[in-house]
């Protein structure tokens, strides 16, 4: 095993959740160094996403792309990550400049890697550079106090191509063939090399299942960046006890906050969503009921066949072992379900029995986007995407887009060599493997929806003589992306607030910033533009905080506290949030209120917005959503839900009589929906302290200590100077 470089070090002792150290590795030079962070760094940037944002803002430029040497891949937990006395504390984020959006992306991920990295003495790992001579593995050993860059070991063609199989072989090779809870690894697979939406797998040993399990940082191509850098895996190992991970300032306070949250989860989850038993698969049934499932590229939100993918099917046929499946110790919500000994029937591993972690709701949703309702295909799609290192969401959305291009005649057999009919499992399976291998139509699919759209437009235009721009505009209506990132798995046609939740999301349309569908569409709690705008400010801020401190959001957002109903805004679930604030204060020694927490988040939010602005994704035009996200594009979609659309039109126009033809009604609906979305933009920008073009006002940045020279220069490029009244929204 060739060692390129190594250092010895004394792991820093954690105090109040922080080590105040960042491990930096430059793969171009094999340099390894440890940055000691100044005392005020944590006050300003909190941790996790905040640390990643600070590094990307400081160390990259407008010209930086995902494969530029100066691009950095950051893996960071946060001050509250790693303490099993509080549920959901195993999260870390992977942040970088995305190959899909060309701006900042981060994706949160469970498992033991984040907690072990902190116990090895680091709040974050930052990897820059590009390996000049082959793939590397980074090994961080907190027990021995060594950090090494080694040539990636070779285990054989099949294993070396896989994120899961390679991770297992690597851990065994480095640990005398033993798998244990003291080491964890992050990996990518060959799909991450061939596609722009490569993921990072986080592999950890689960004693109950006696095997490695995996969670994924799925969105935005973080695995692709890792692969471009030549970083095949990162291994962390230490035997330091988990309870010593954070060295909280008030141990009793941590225990108390954790016990309170655990009590709520134990009492309420069994009578609410039952995530502990079913995982997020339970959502399929509810999304289908309310026309939110993204069936056939989000054309319809509901399908009679969807019941084949309800939670009880997976519970009966796949989740055979009814055991707690948390992705980190101490979480009694434990929603990460898994299946054992599933025999693969397709692809290069056909005939093999594998353990499968998942499926999550998002993966099932992605399969329905292809018009497939086959649970076995869901399981295999899940496993192969993980093994190849592909995002199940972006893969599914891009495949579904190509299928709709086929349905509507934009693509023919001349382009794809095989039928891409909805629900054709053989075709979906073939396209998946081609995407991982970068062959055939998969080479186009792997470039993501935006680039696939360009390719289809050119092919169609060349074949038919139709003007390319015209074709492109037709395709844009149903290519489900914003800022270059594919939508996650919720159809937003009946929720204006969630249209904003996707459109304004800084990383692109991922629901971890704002998921407002139920309180808007079902509860009808946000009837005015102002109320929608307030929610579109508040929820992204609190959700940002979870990604900054190293915590999972689900115990807060998906298990309603019994006292929430007595509060002014039950959907905010503030009685549970009080436990989180107590946990923060007990760990770090701070005396923060919920409002302080929101203010900390707002600083990070605006910093991310400034990175978007610098990267050309920060103005109003970048917040625009495809027509399909606002409503039906084609008459078949309108007709499939005409009762709702007719009623909506009557309400909006005050007309009892609507035009007789569906085409006229559709046209009327589209105009009203477009107008509503623009009004929402105005309201949200005003609420957030931005101009009508979506650019932060100087005073907004000043309030959070972000108006440095660089920020001021960037704002001046958009015509903004301090005290200039004409920029005020509305």
């Amino acid at each position: 095993m060739h060692v390129h470089s190594s250092i010895t070090y004394e792991p820093a002792i954690t105090r109040g959740g922080y080590t105040d150290r960042v491990l930096h590795v430059n793969l171009s030079t094999s340099e390894i160094d440890i940055w000691k962070m100044p005392p005020d760094h944590k006050d300003k940037y909190v941790g996790g996403r905040g640390y990643a944002l600070a590094l990307i803002w400081e160390k990259t430029r407008a010209e930086t792309r995902h494969d530029s040497p100066e691009n950095i891949v950051v893996m960071a937990s946060g001050p509250l990550c790693g303490d099993p006395r509080f549920p959901g504390s195993g999260k870390f984020i992977v942040g970088t400049i995305s190959p899909l959006t060309n701006t900042f992306i981060d994706s949160n991920i469970g498992g033991h890697f984040g907690p072990l990295l902190k116990r090895c003495g680091f709040d974050a790992l930052a990897v820059s550079g590009l390996s000049p001579d082959g793939e590397k593995v980074l090994q961080i050993d907190g027990d021995r106090g060594t950090i090494r860059i080694i040539d990636a070991p070779v285990f054989g063609e099949g294993i070396d191509a896989g994120g899961l199989t390679y991770g297992e072989s690597l851990l065994k090779a480095l640990n005398d063939h033993e798998l244990n809870e003291h080491s964890a690894v992050v990996t990518t697979g060959k799909g991450a090399e061939n596609a722009r939406f490569g993921i990072v797998n986080s592999l950890f040993f689960d004693r109950r299942r006696n095997r490695l399990r995996a969670k994924q940082a799925g969105r935005g191509g973080t695995g692709t960046v890792m692969r471009r850098k030549g970083l095949k895996a990162v291994v962390v190992q230490t035997r330091q006890a988990a309870t010593r991970a954070n060295q909280p300032m008030d141990v009793k306070g941590v225990k108390e906050a954790g016990a309170q949250l655990k009590r709520v989860l134990s009492k309420m989850d069994p009578t609410q969503l039952r995530l502990a038993s079913w995982g997020t698969t339970v959502l399929v049934e509810y999304m289908n009921k309310f026309h939110i499932l993204p069936v056939r590229n989000y054309q319809s939100g509901q399908d009679p066949e969807a019941e084949k993918l309800f939670a009880d099917i997976f519970l009966k046929d796949y989740f055979g072992r009814k055991i707690p499946d948390g992705c980190f110790s101490g979480c009694n919500l434990a929603c990460a379900k898994g299946a054992e000994d599933v025999t693969l029937t397709r692809g290069p591993w056909a005939g093999e029995k594998v353990g499968i972690d998942g499926p999550e709701y998002e993966t099932i949703g992605a399969v329905t986007a292809m018009g497939v309702f086959d649970p076995q295909f869901v399981m295999e799609y899940n496993w192969y995407c993980d093994e190849y290192g592909l995002d199940t969401i972006s893969t599914g959305v891009t495949m579904a887009f190509l299928m709709e291009c086929w349905q509507r005649g934009y693509l023919t057999k001349e382009d794809s060599e095989y039928d891409l009919n909805w629900g054709n499992v053989a075709s979906a399976d073939r396209l998946l493997h081609e995407t991982a291998n970068g062959t055939g139509l998969g080479a186009i699919c792997g470039d993501g929806t935006v680039r696939a759209r360009e390719w289809v437009a050119k092919r169609h235009s060349d074949r038919t003589g139709a003007p390319r721009e015209e074709v492109l505009n037709e395709l844009k209506a149903f290519a489900m992306e914003v800022k270059g990132l594919e939508f996650s798995m919720y159809s937003t046609k009946e929720s204006l607030a969630q249209q904003g939740g996707y459109g304004f999301a800084l990383k692109g349309p991922q629901h971890d910033e704002a998921w407002l569908i139920f309180i808007d569409q079902v509860h009808k709690e946000l009837p005015t533009f102002e109320m929608k705008a307030e929610a579109l400010k508040w929820f992204p801020l609190i959700r940002t905080w979870f990604n900054a401190v190293g915590l999972c959001k689900l115990p807060w957002i998906d298990v309603r506290h019994p006292d929430a109903a007595k509060t002014a805004n039950p959907a905010q679930n503030t009685p549970t949030l009080a436990y989180y604030v107590n946990y923060l204060n007990a760990t770090t020694g701070s005396k923060k209120t919920l409002q302080d927490v929101l203010n900390d988040s707002e600083r990070l939010y605006h910093l991310q917005k400034m990175i978007n602005l610098r990267q050309g994704k920060g103005t109003r035009v970048s917040d625009q959503i495809p027509l399909r996200a606002m409503g039906p594009v084609f008459t078949n979609e309108y007709e499939g839900r005409s009762e709702y659309y007719d009623e909506w039109l009557r309400e909006q126009t005050g007309q009892k009589l609507l035009p007789a033809g569906v085409e006229e009604r559709l046209k009327m609906l589209i105009e009203l929906r477009k107008e509503a979305y623009q009004k929402l933009c105005d309201s949200v920008y005003l609420e957030k302290g931005y101009t009508t073009d979506g650019v932060p006002l100087p005073e907004t940045l000043e309030r959070f200590g972000l108006l440095d020279e660089r920020a001021a220069a960037l704002l001046s490029e958009h015509g903004l100077g301090w005290g200039d009244d004409r920029r005020l929204s509305n």
Partner: protein, 81 residues
């Protein structure tokens, strides 16, 4: 009058059906239906604070008056992942 109660997720599993129809007298309110459902399915978790009650897919309150062919759903609160 006849109304129907739809079950989803956990409730569908416990009730072992996705819908029951009930014959009720005029003037019946939603909370009377909840009591009747609880009587018929004693193990069904029906704490009001855990539930979002809809009538014909519109959010309702426990004291809403029902009418012929109304469809009641008892849903959990969902906040998104």
């Amino acid at each position: 009058m006849v109304i129907s109660v739809n079950f989803y997720g956990l409730q569908r599993m416990v009730a072992q059906t996705d819908e029951v129809q009930m014959s009720l007298s005029d003037g019946t309110r939603v909370d009377h239906v909840l009591e009747a459902v609880q009587e018929r399915f004693p193990t069904l978790p029906l704490q009001k604070e855990d539930l979002l009650i809809t009538v014909n897919d519109k959010v309702s309150t426990a004291n809403q008056l029902l009418k012929e062919r109304d469809k009641i759903s008892l849903l959990p609160h969902i906040g998104g992942g």
